[in-house]
Symmetry: C2
Subunit: 221 residues, 2 copies
């Protein structure tokens, strides 16, 4: 918090959230946006928004706000979204297929170039533009096509082996949806996604509200 150079994970999350709001404003033809609007859309305070954006050298014009297009471009550049990132999905089950066809990935520059699976019945099928290939080809494919990111949706038992293959092929980042955390070298960036965490946030919030409000009457009739 005291180091001016280190950008925290929560700052990156807020930048992603601003980007989303700016995309939606752009789509609706807006050219300017206030810190108040950006704050409201992200559940933040305007002061937090102004602090974040000044940190990145972007200043609004008083009474007029930020230029939607300029600000969007700046945040996209900071997040590394001003280029294309070749991405593979490993595990072509329900979740893998859903992620491979998630439209916002490609819109932000994450191009799904192939899926990989062990199940021979799935091979050759296409999800969007990407073909399902045999998992045995993973390492050579990643190397040959200079794939940057691997999205891991295999069963937990295959996670480490798959991560090893991605690393051997020269992958730069892994987005892990499996419930285990594979070990990767320090040079490879790993992020673990926990889909349950948000539902747990909801159940936590409801439990807290109940405690605040006291015991509820049972609905007996």
């Amino acid at each position: 918090m005291s180091s001016p150079r280190k950008i925290s994970d929560s700052t990156v999350r807020r930048l992603s959230s601003y980007l989303r709001t700016l995309d939606s404003l752009r789509a609706r033809g807006h050219d300017t946006v206030s810190s108040v609007h950006l704050a409201a859309a992200g559940g933040l305070t305007p002061a937090q928004v102004r602090k974040d954006l000044s940190f990145f050298g972007s200043f609004g014009v008083r009474g007029r706000g930020y230029d939607v297009h300029v600000l969007r471009g700046e945040i996209a550049r900071i997040l590394g979204l001003d280029r294309k990132w070749s991405t593979v999905v490993v595990g072509a089950g329900r979740l893998g297929s859903a992620l491979a066809s998630y439209p916002r990935f490609s819109r932000q520059g994450f191009r799904i170039v192939a899926l990989f699976d062990n199940d021979s019945e799935r091979l050759g099928t296409r999800i969007g533009d990407a073909e399902i290939l045999p998992a045995t080809e993973l390492e050579s494919y990643v190397r040959q096509h200079e794939v940057s990111f691997g999205i891991l949706t295999t069963p937990a038992s295959a996670a480490q082996e798959t991560a090893d293959r991605l690393v051997a092929g020269g992958i730069r980042g892994i987005l892990n949806f499996t419930p285990t955390v594979p070990e990767v070298p320090e040079t490879v960036h790993l992020r673990n996604v926990n889909l349950t965490i948000e539902l747990e946030g909801l159940s936590f919030a409801i439990r807290e509200a109940e405690i605040r409000e006291g015991p509820q009457e049972g609905e007996s009739d």
Copy 2:
């Protein structure tokens, strides 16, 4: 940060992460865990772990660590996971179907009781134990079955109308995977999931590493 009563979203996230680690330890037959291990699994400092857990009244035994089963039970209770939450998925496309069959949801008490969709070709199909029902029945189903949570995976254009139906049926929380943010009354808890955010975290990290290391040579051979 200064208020002792308010539990921040990031604390809830860390609790979810501890729970995950404890589940995996329990599955491997471990009975105790150190704050150092819990910290390493979540990418945190042991001091942070001890602070979080003392905050909730749970103290480890010096030299022995925390009891895995007791700690797991406490965190589950705090997160509201000591009961079953009936949950519906609205939108039975690839993402909705993947989420409806995501095994960890039911393991944590989020029981998917039904899916809803407008597409008549999907109706009657089962995903796991849950049937796909017509979206027109959403409100009455939620009311009749006292459904707690709705997971929203419809197209953006249907998000607000779907949220309205869930609210009219008496839903308590909505987990929104659509790119728009529907308006809901204050009494309904809403969480918005951004699947792109984690990939953006990866591209940001790689861009930062490149800046630190200076320009890379092109791979020209």
